[in-house]
Each structure stands twice: as structure tokens, then as C-alpha cells.
Amino acid sequence: MTKTLWTPSRRRFITSSSAAALAGLAAPGLAQSRFPNRPVTLIVPWTAGGSTDMGFRALAEATQKHLGERIVVENKPGAGGTLGPAQMAASARPDGYTLAQMPITMFRLPHMTRVAFNPLTDFSYVVHVAGYCFGTTVRADSPHKTMKDLIEFARANPDKVTYGTPGAGTSLHITMMDIAARENIKWTHVPFRGASETNAAVLGGHVTAQADSSGWAPLVNAGQLRLLATWGKKRTKTWSSVPTLQESGIDIVSNSPFGIAGPKGMDPGIVKVLHDAFKKGIEEPDHMRVMDQLDQEVDYMDTQSYEAFVKTMYEDMRQQVERLGLRRS
């Protein structure tokens, strides 16, 4: 870790570790058995009010009664969702009182550019929560009825198909690149800034297709957009008639799975307390209902499975970044 990158955080680290020393003097050995005895901060590295934030606020609400302490959601957006967890790893104490959402970018960005964190060694993973619902849509009057139609059209007309995504380098963009590479076709990426712009662009006929998370839901439900495929492991509950990418003959699952982690070196006992509370919180009907409405697919994994999954995902991302030539330096 390059320390020069973290001046402000380092200062905070020093003050908080001296506070830790004092606390340790006052009550040696008791901290663990009493955990938690004050509110837990859950860093959501996205802006307040976004779909991740809403899901996590519902999860915090559902979990705190099982944990016995309040869970305070703190939004620290930036750097594609890596800034919040990276700062936590650099500055927070591994006492279980500071946790963060771990978005997929934590595992992809280190392969693309120089970063000051290592997702395999700098974090204590707690629990895996869910994945997003991504999908490809076209306008309802489009001649393309299936994913195959769209791909075959692109094969016959190289560079004619344009697709909008919520941004360059997002999972949406990278997955569409991946599809093109596997199918050996050419289509043109048009990066927009967020779902409302891609919706308007596909609806207004400015692009052929849209690859986005479920911001298209209202327009698909109203029959103005046609959902060609969803990108998860299995079909969605809401659009059960729409095939997955795999069912469409493309062997890709892309749902940007995410979970919760703390800084490295957390006590296994504290991890267990947190895991058990979050597991119950994830399963709470209130949380499940919100996740259904946000079209996020709950995918619980315990601590060990999540740690194993993280290793596989990190390696998958490395291969993907190399295959698509996304490495910058």
C-alpha cells in the first residue's frame, strides 16, 4: 500500500487507534463478548437514493433488530464504488463497527489500473448478499425479437447495431463487449450517463438497443420496450417469460454480485455475530420485498463460501480484463 495516497485517512487512523488504545485499557478482553455495544457503520459506496442504497437501507433496517444495535448507512460514492471500501480498508479499525458494500469494481479495477488496495488481502469478508438484474432491451417496434436476432443482424451488418449503456467500463459495457468477442461480431458502444439517458435514447430511436440494470422496468412493463434477455443465472421472477443470456446461447452470467466486508484482521467471533445478524436480515420479508421491487436477486452466501467466491471472481475478472484488452498501464 502506498501510504502517500492516504494522507487524510492516515491522520484519522492515528486518532482512532489512540482511542482504541484507551478503550483497550479500560475494558481488556470484554469488547468481543459485548459486540456490538454501539452503532455499526455500513458504507455504501454509491450516492444516496440509488438502487444499491435503497436495498442496503432496507437491509440495515431489517438487520439491526437481530444485531441489537443500530446500523447507520453512510454514503461514500466515488471511483466506481471502490473509494468507500478502499478508504475503509486503509483507515478503519477491524473491530466490526465499520463495514462496506463490496461492489464488483473492487475486483475488476485492480486489474485495469494501479490501485492502493488488494481485494484478496485487505478485507475480512462477512456475507454475500445479492446481484443486480441486468438486461438487453430494444424498442417495442424493433424487428429484433430475441437476443439471437440482434446478434445475427449485427453479424450481417457489422457496426450497424448501436447500444447504449450507463457508462464506459461498467459491467454492462464490458459484458456487451464480451458477447461481441465470443460471437465474433461488431457492434457500436454508445456510453450514456445513467439509466434515464439510456431509456430515452432507445425509446427515441437514437440507439438500436440498451444494456442496463432494471431502470427499463417501467417501460418494459408498459410494452414500450422489449426485453430480449436478462443476464442472471436464472430467469427473473418478474419477467419469467424472458430467457437468460445462457438460454439464448451465450454462456455469460453478469449480475455484478455484491456482499459485505470489513477491514482485514477482524476477529472471527465478531464476523460470526455480524454474519448471523445479516443472514437473518437478508431473509426478513421486508428486505426481500424491497429487493424484489428493485429487481435485485438475493443470493446469500456464508462467510466461507463468499471468501472462496471472491477468489474465483478476482481471477475471472483478471481473465476478462486481459481478454478484452482493458488494462491501461
Partner: protein
């Protein structure tokens, strides 16, 4: 007739005691977060969102919508009183609004902002009901080429923004454009000017920049000058508008409303541009353009009306398509989804009670806001009499809280302070911050849309001329540039002639 019936149903919903209460709570919170710089509606709404799970969806949406348009009302207050714009759209209000306050006309500025907001808010609602389907066609016709041309028009307005020389404005706008480049480039996802700092990957935050350039720099400036305080203090007096004020501002309000309504429906940046366009237009149309920047009341009335009309018409794409044109409404959309409301094109038919109830509640809310805000004006103006020794630390404190609440990053506080010092220094040499903000806000959107338009046209620049809406904006930009530069060039020629 059918429309009136539906609106009647809506009012029946909105005027039920519960919903009246939700509406009042919403606009009250909105006014408060609007007045507190930086603590915007997004923070307030996302904190309140879990609390709304317990109340019926209609009440929840009425309250959350109230926070949104209520904050638009309050946003002008700090711009006028202490020159802190809470968001990009109120930057324009600082220009003449704060000058008015310095001249002891803070009351009139706040009053015209409130009246303008009320008029714009109410008219935008009528528009929302009558022309929503038509406006949607227009909004969807906007592709990257059209957006790009609109941003070009916005950038040309720099010529009208500033009191300083055109050259100085261009320098500041250029700095703004460069600052806007910082971060991951939106087309190729390559980092630019980030110096390997994660904090800079998403670019420099707008809130710390505007708070630094305006609020913090203003404090430094006052500390340096120190003494002319008594001038502001002694002339607080009159709150009501004079008849001259009224004559000068009424058409500005009407024009600003029309502009804001049309531009507000565009996803991304419509509201910001509308306030800048309105300011430029008033200055262009005025018989006494030299008053602008020195406390012209039209320069407050027009942009404030535009800002609020845009806030109203932004509901059109949200309610009819489920497409939120800005971050606050994206949050409202999320709230609707969580409350299991069928958002999108089917909302009006499936939940007419909710749709018309919310629309009617906005009328009710606008009246509440007016009643709430007018008596407050006297109170706000009194704030100016707080001694500097107390006022300045308070302003700094609110700026810090606002900036930190927006991003949760200490780094952004450093950015704010840096821009405060920078803003104070350049002001000493006669450079003004508004063109920088315009370049900073519009530059990235201009670049992104320009490059997207060229991707879609396979590199053909003709796309900007061939598409009618885009061609119109390009032509309008050319006219603006010409009318702004010709008198300036002529003046320069004369100067040279005189000197020669």
C-alpha cells in the same frame, strides 16, 4: 371536462387531512434543506424514505415531492444573502441577487424570487397537465447531436454572464472546461488528470467547487475589505417590491417560466442551462444591460422562475415514462417502486388517484410555500445583521457540513478551501467565477454528447446541421456569439482608434 373531473378527484385526495399534513411536512423540510447550503433534497429524502414505508404511497409521494420543490424555493435564499449557491442552478441568482442584498435590497430580491417561484411552479403544473404527451415527443427527439448543440448554446452564453471583459470570461470558462476533464473519461473510461488519486476518478465535485468559489471566496473578500459592513446593515428596510421593480421583473418571470418549462423535461442538465439561458436572455433584452451584475432585479426573477418551472416540468418524463431527468427525481422514482406503484406510462391509468392526487398536492404545496416563505423573508434579512464575527464562522460551518454531507469525503473539503482561495485571488484581478462554473458543468456534457453524436454519425460533422433541432441550436449559438462580440469588437476598434 374529463380533465377537470380528474383534477377534482386529485384535489379531493390532496385536501384530505392526512395528505395536507404530509404536504406541509414535505414543503417545510424542503424549505429548510433548501436554505441550508449543500444539505440538498437528496440527503433529506433518502433519510426519510424508510420512514415513509409505514404511510400510504400517495402520502409518501406527496411528502417527498414537497421536499423536492420546497427545496427549490429555499435554494435562492443563501445565494442572495451570503452568496452561497447550494447547486449549479442557483449560481446565476448569486450574481445580481447578492448585489441587491449589498445595496440593502435583500428583501426585494427574496420577494421577487418567491413570487417568481410561485408563478413558475403553478404554471408548470398547468403545463404538466395539458401538454405532457406533446412534451414527451420533444424530449425523446433529443439525441446526442441535439444535446451537444444545446450545450454549445449554453457555452456561448458565457459572453453574457460576466461584467468583466470577454477575454477574462473566456479564460475562466477555459479553466472550467479543463477542470471538467478531470476523472474517468466518459467514452473510453480512461483516467484523465487524476494523478493516481482515487478521489479524482469521478471528477471534481460540483458542490465543493461552487461553495468554494462563491461562499468561501466571498468570506475572504469581506475579511480583506472589512469595513463597508455598515452599508448593508443600514439599508435593510423595504421588503415589498417598488412599482419599478415589478415592471422590470414581471416579463422576466414569464419568460423564465417558459424557458424552464421547456428545458426542464430534458434528462441531464436541462434545469441548469435554463437558469443561465434566462439570465443571458434578460440581459440581452434589457434596455439597460449595464445594470446586470450590479443588482438588476430581472437577473434574479428570470432565472429563479426558470429554475422552478424546470423543477415542475421535470415531473413530466418521470410520471409519463418513468424516466427521471435528475438525481432527486431518480430517488422519487425509487420511492414509487418500493411503494409498489406502477411507474411509467401506465401510472396515470392504473393509479389515477395517486397521479392526480400528487399533481393537485403540488398546487396546494405551492400555496403553502408562498405563505411560509413571505413572512420568513423579514427573518432571513435580519440574518444579515448578525455580526461578522458570528456570521462568517457560521457560513463556513454550513459550507463544510454541506460539502461533507454531499460526498462524505474530507478530500472535498480541501477542494472547497482551495477553490475558495483561488476564487478570492482571481476576483482581485477582476475575473469572475460564473463562467468557470458554466464551463465546468456544461463541458463534460458537451464532450460526452459530441463524441456520442460522432460515434452515431460515423464521424460525420454534418449530423449537427442535418438534424433540425440541432441545426436550430447551432444557428442560435452563432447569432448569440455574433451579437455579443460585434459591439465588443467595435468598442475595441474605437479604443484603438482613440489611442492611435
Amino acid at each position: 371536462m374529463e380533465l377537470l373531473g380528474q383534477l377534482g378527484t386529485g384535489f379531493a385526495v390532496a385536501l384530505s387531512p392526512d395528505n395536507l399534513l404530509y404536504c406541509f411536512v414535505g414543503v417545510l423540510i424542503g424549505t429548510l434543506v433548501g436554505v441550508l447550503p449543500g444539505i440538498g433534497p437528496i440527503a433529506a429524502m433518502s433519510l426519510l424514505l424508510p420512514a415513509t414505508f409505514a404511510i400510504p404511497p400517495t402520502g409518501a409521494v406527496i411528502m417527498l415531492a414537497g421536499i423536492y420543490y420546497g427545496s427549490m424555493y429555499g435554494g435562492s435564499t443563501t445565494s442572495i444573502l451570503v452568496r452561497i449557491p447550494g447547486e449549479a442552478a442557483s449560481v446565476v441568482t448569486c450574481l445580481d441577487g447578492h448585489e441587491m442584498a449589498k445595496q440593502g435590497r435583500a428583501g426585494a430580491a427574496l420577494f421577487v424570487a418567491a413570487i417568481g417561484s410561485f408563478f413558475a411552479g403553478t404554471v408548470a403544473l398547468v403545463g404538466l397537465i395539458l401538454v405532457a404527451p406533446l412534451m414527451i415527443t420533444v424530449a425523446l427527439a433529443f439525441g446526442p447531436a441535439e444535446y451537444c448543440a444545446l450545450m454549445l448554446l449554453g457555452l456561448c452564453l458565457i459572453a453574457y454572464l460576466s461584467q468583466a471583459s470577454v477575454i477574462k470570461s473566456l479564460v475562466m470558462a477555459g479553466i472550467g472546461l479543463v477542470l471538467g476533464l478531470v476523472g474517468i473519461d466518459s467514452i473510453n473510461a480512461l483516467p484523465r488528470l487524476t494523478f493516481d488519486r482515487l478521489e479524482l476518478l469521478d471528477g471534481i465535485g460540483l458542490v465543493p467547487v461552487v461553495m468554494g468559489l462563491f461562499g468561501v471566496a466571498e468570506i475572504f473578500k469581506n475579511l480583506e475589505q472589512g469595513t463597508d459592513r455598515t452599508v448593508v446593515e443600514s439599508k435593510v428596510g423595504r421588503l415589498w417590491l417598488t412599482s419599478t421593480d415589478w415592471i422590470q421583473s414581471r416579463w422576466a418571470i414569464v419568460r423564465g417560466t417558459a424557458l424552464g418549462f421547456v428545458l426542464g423535461i430534458l434528462p441531464g442538465g436541462g434545469a441548469v442551462i435554463s437558469s443561465f439561458v434566462s439570465y443571458a436572455m434578460e440581459r440581452r433584452l434589457s434596455k439597460t444591460p449595464e445594470r446586470f451584475g450590479k443588482g438588476a432585479i430581472e437577473g434574479v426573477a428570470g432565472p429563479e422562475a426558470a429554475n422552478n418551472a424546470a423543477a415542475g416540468s421535470a415531473f413530466i418524463p418521470l410520471m409519463t415514462l418513468g424516466i427521471p431527468p435528475n438525481a432527486v427525481l431518480a430517488l422519487l422514482l425509487g420511492a414509487l417502486i418500493i411503494h409498489n406503484v406502477p411507474v411509467g406510462p401506465t401510472m396515470i391509468t392504473q393509479r389515477p388517484d395517486l397521479f392526480w392526487g400528487v399533481v393537485a398536492s403540488m398546487y396546494v404545496g405551492n400555496v403553502m410555500l408562498l405563505v411560509l416563505n413571505l413572512p420568513l423573508i423579514g427573518l432571513w434579512v435580519k440574518c444579515l445583521q448578525v455580526p461578522y464575527g458570528i456570521l462568517f464562522p457560521l457560513i463556513l460551518l454550513f459550507c463544510c457540513i454541506g460539502v461533507y454531507a454531499t460526498s462524505g469525503q474530507i478530500f472535498d473539503l480541501y477542494v472547497m478551501i482551495a477553490f475558495g482561495i483561488g476564487g478570492w485571488l482571481v476576483a482581485r484581478w477582476g475575473y469572475e467565477p460564473a463562467p468557470l462554473v458554466l464551463g465546468f458543468v456544461l463541458g463534460p456534457m458537451f464532450e460526452n454528447n459530441l463524441r456520442k453524436a460522432l460515434i452515431l454519425s460515423r464521424g460525420s460533422w454534418m449530423t449537427f446541421i442535418e438534424r433540425p433541432i440541432s441545426a436550430f441550436f447551432v444557428l442560435a449559438s452563432a447569432i448569440i456569439l455574433a451579437t455579443a462580440l460585434v459591439p465588443w469588437i467595435n468598442a475595441k476598434r474605437k479604443e484603438i482608434a482613440v489611442e492611435g
